[in-house]
C-alpha cells in the first residue's frame, strides 16, 4: 500500500514537472508571453478581463502558480479560433482518440501475443524466417506512410473505405455512444485502426517470442515436462503466463505513448482526435488549445506509465507478495 502511494506521489511529481516545462516553453517562445492567451482581435476590455482571469498582469512566479492551479482543474482558457473553452474542445475529440488507440492496440497485442508464442513454438522454421523480417519491416515503416499507402489503395483506389474523418457529413446521433457504435463510424475507423495495429503489433510479437524462448529454458518448464503435465498446461499456464508479464507492462505503456504518437495517423486520415487538434492548434498559433492538448496527452502518458508500474506489481507475486523469511 505504501509503495502504491509513493508511486502515485512520484506520478504527480512527474506530471508537475512536465506542466512546469510546458509553462516555461510557452513563456520562452519569442514575442509577448501573453499571446498564449490573448488573441489580438480581442477587444481591450476582453483582454483586460482575460489578463485578470489568468493573472497575466501578475509577475511571472504568480502566473506560474495560477497556471498550475488552473491546469489541475482542467482550466486551460478559451480557444482563439473556436471561441469556446479549451476543455470542451478536448472532450469533444477525446472519445475519437481513445476509440482509435484502444481498438488498434488491443487488436495488435492479441495478434502479437498469439503469433509471437506460435513463433517461439516453431523456432527455426521457415515460418520464422518469413514472419520475423516482415514484422521488423512493418515496425520500420513510418505509420503515416503505411496509412498513406493503405488509404491510396483501399480508400481512393478500391473505394472500399472513406477517405477520412470519423463520420459522414451530416450524420446526426442521439448520443456519443450511438455515434461510436454506428456502422458509419466503424467504417471510418477501420483503415486508421488497421494502420496503427500493423505498426503496433511488432513489439508484442517480438517481445512475446523472445520471452517465450527464455521461459522455455527455465527449470520450472523443464520440471513441468518431467511431471508429465499435458502440453497445453505447460505452454499456457506456465510458459505463457510468465512470458506475458513484460508484455502487459508494454501494453499499458504503449497506450500512453500511442495517444501522443497517433498525431500522424490522425492527420493522414483527418481523424478528429486529440493529436490532430494539437497539430492544428500549433499550426494556427491557437496556444491555449495547444497547451491543453499537450498537457492532456502528457497526463495520459504519465498515468499509463504509473498503471504499467502497478500492473507489474499486481501480476508478479515476487513484487506484490514481499519475501517472508
Amino acid at each position: 500500500m505504501k509503495s502504491v502511494l509513493s508511486r502515485f506521489a512520484q506520478m504527480l511529481f512527474v506530471l508537475w514537472v512536465v506542466a512546469t516545462i510546458l509553462f516555461l516553453m510557452f513563456r520562452l517562445m519569442p514575442g509577448d508571453p501573453t499571446a498564449a492567451y490573448i488573441d489580438t482581435t480581442f477587444t481591450e476590455e476582453q483582454q483586460q478581463q482575460l489578463r485578470a482571469a489568468f493573472g497575466l498582469d501578475q509577475p511571472l512566479w504568480k502566473q506560474y502558480f495560477i497556471f498550475i492551479a488552473n491546469a489541475a482543474q482542467g482550466e486551460f482558457g478559451e480557444s482563439f479560433h473556436h471561441r469556446k473553452p479549451v476543455i470542451d474542445l478536448l472532450m469533444e475529440v477525446l472519445p475519437n482518440t481513445l476509440v482509435l488507440t484502444l481498438s488498434s492496440i488491443i487488436v495488435a497485442y492479441i495478434f502479437g501475443v498469439l503469433v509471437g508464442s506460435w513463433l517461439a513454438w516453431n523456432r527455426g522454421t521457415r515460418a520464422e524466417a518469413i514472419v520475423v523480417p516482415t514484422v521488423l519491416t512493418l515496425r520500420a515503416a513510418p505509420e503515416f506512410w503505411l496509412g498513406m499507402v493503405l488509404l491510396a489503395t483501399f480508400g481512393f483506389g478500391l473505394g472500399w473505405f472513406p477517405s477520412g474523418g470519423a463520420n459522414s457529413a451530416g450524420a446526426a446521433y442521439g448520443s456519443e455512444w450511438s455515434r461510436i457504435f454506428s456502422s458509419d463510424f466503424l467504417h471510418h475507423l477501420f483503415l486508421p485502426a488497421l494502420t496503427l495495429a500493423l505498426y503496433l503489433q511488432g513489439l508484442p510479437l517480438l517481445l512475446m517470442r523472445s520471452n517465450m524462448l527464455d521461459v522455455m529454458q527455465e527449470d520450472f518448464v523443464m520440471m513441468a515436462r518431467m511431471k508429465g503435465l499435458p502440453e497445453w498446461v505447460i505452454v499456457l499456464k506456465h510458459a505463457a503466463r510468465n512470458a506475458l508479464l513484460p508484455v502487459m507492462t508494454a501494453f499499458a505503456i504503449g497506450i500512453g505513448q500511442s495517444i501522443g504518437a497517433n498525431v500522424v495517423v490522425e492527420t493522414v486520415f483527418s481523424w478528429p482526435g486529440l493529436g490532430r487538434l494539437l497539430v492544428a492548434s500549433v499550426a494556427a498559433s491557437d496556444y491555449p488549445v495547444a497547451q491543453g492538448a499537450f498537457l492532456l496527452i502528457a497526463a495520459v502518458l504519465v498515468l499509463m506509465n504509473f498503471i504499467a508500474d502497478l500492473l507489474y506489481s499486481v501480476l508478479d507475486p515476487r513484487v506484490s507478495h514481499g519475501a517472508r523469511r
Binding site: G228, R241, N242, P317, R318, A323, R325
Partner: protein, 278 residues
C-alpha cells in the same frame, strides 16, 4: 531431460522395463507417478507466479486423478510429511527460505507416492545445518514410505550420511560402485581415493585436504584408455591404451581400474599428499 539431450547408448531399466528410448506414452505412465524428481534448486524449478499449493494441486489433479475436494487434505499431509506448516501452501516460492523450498520440492516429488525419487544435488545450495535437517527428512521418508532414492551429488559427506550404495562416476563413466561403507573405507579406484582425500573428515586434522590436480577431460574428445589416467598418480603406460573393464568382487564391490588388485598398497600411498601434487 533437456530437449537437446538424448540417450546415446546403454540401457535404463526401471521396475523390470526398459525405458531408454521408450515411447512418450510409456514414459507418461512412469513420470511422477512411479518416478519423481527433486531439483537442485527448487527456486528455479517452481513457477514463480503460482502459490506452491497450486503447483502441487496441478500434479495431483492432472497426473494423479485426484478429485478437487481431496486435494487440500493431500497437500496438508505432504507438507506435514516433509516438516512444513500446511498453512504455507498459500505462499509463493520466493517467500520460502532455501531449506524450506527444498522441502516443498520433496513434497512435490512425493505427491503421487512414487517408488523412486531422483534428487539432483538436493542440499548443495543450503548451509550445513539446514543440509542436515533436509537429509534427515529424506532418510526418514525413505524408511517410512519404502521409497528408493537416487541422490546425485559431488558431496561425499552426503553420500556417507544417507546412502546405502554408491556409484562413483568420472567423466561420464562408472569407475566404482558398491556399498557405501566398502567404497568409502576401502576404495579401489584411485579417483575414489582422491575424492575421499579431497573432503574434510572428522577423523583427520583440518588443513590436510588434498585436491586432485588437473581437470576433467573434454567429453567430446575423451582420452583413450582409462579416462582418469591423465590425472592418476598411479597411472602406468598401459592405462593410456586399455580401457579398464568394470570388475565386481564377491561382496558386490565393483571398480574399473587395471591396478585394482594392488588396491591395498595404492590406498596406503594415496594417503601421502605429495602423491597428488601436480
Amino acid at each position: 531431460m533437456s530437449r537437446s539431450a538424448r540417450v546415446a547408448g546403454g540401457s535404463i531399466r526401471f521396475e523390470g522395463k526398459e525405458i531408454a528410448g521408450a515411447p512418450p506414452s510409456v514414459m507418461q505412465e512412469i513420470l511422477w507417478r512411479r518416478m519423481a524428481f527433486v531439483p537442485q534448486s527448487a527456486m528455479n524449478a517452481l513457477d514463480p507466479v503460482y502459490r506452491v499449493g497450486k503447483q502441487i494441486e496441478e500434479v495431483l489433479v492432472h497426473r494423479g486423478n485426484y478429485r478437487r475436494e481431496d486435494v487440500p487434505k493431500r497437500i496438508a499431509e505432504l507438507f506435514e510429511m516433509v516438516g512444513l506448516n500446511p498453512k504455507r501452501q498459500n505462499d509463493y516460492p520466493h517467500q520460502f527460505s532455501g531449506g524450506m523450498r527444498q522441502r516443498v520440492g520433496i513434497a512435490l516429488a512425493l505427491a503421487l507416492n512414487p517408488a523412486l525419487m531422483i534428487a539432483d544435488e538436493p542440499v548443495t545450495a543450503l548451509d550445513v545445518i539446514v543440509q542436515r535437517q533436509v537429509l534427515d527428512t529424506l532418510k526418514d521418508l525413505q524408511r517410512r514410505l519404502n521409497l528408493s532414492v537416487i541422490i546425485v551429488t559431488h558431496d561425499i559427506s552426503v553420500v556417507a550420511y544417507v546412502c546405502d550404495r554408491v556409484v562413483v562416476m568420472y567423466a561420464g563413466e562408472v569407475v566404482e560402485s558398491g556399498k557405501v561403507k566398502d567404497v568409502l573405507e576401502q576404495p579401489v579406484h584411485p579417483y575414489t581415493m582422491g575424492l575421499t582425500n579431497a573432503f574434510p573428515d572428522l577423523g583427520r586434522a583440518a588443513g590436510t585436504l588434498v585436491p586432485i590436480a588437473g581437470s576433467p577431460p573434454d567429453l567430446r574428445d575423451p582420452p583413450p584408455g582409462c579416462r582418469f589416467a591423465p590425472r592418476c598418480p598411479f597411472a602406468e603406460p598401459r592405462c593410456a591404451q586399455t580401457s579398464p573393464p568394470l570388475v565386481t568382487d564377491e561382496k558386490g564391490h565393483a571398480a574399473a581400474c587395471l591396478r585394482a588388485n594392488e588396491a591395498p598398497m595404492l590406498r596406503e600411498q594415496a594417503r601421502d599428499p605429495a602423491r597428488w601434487a601436480a
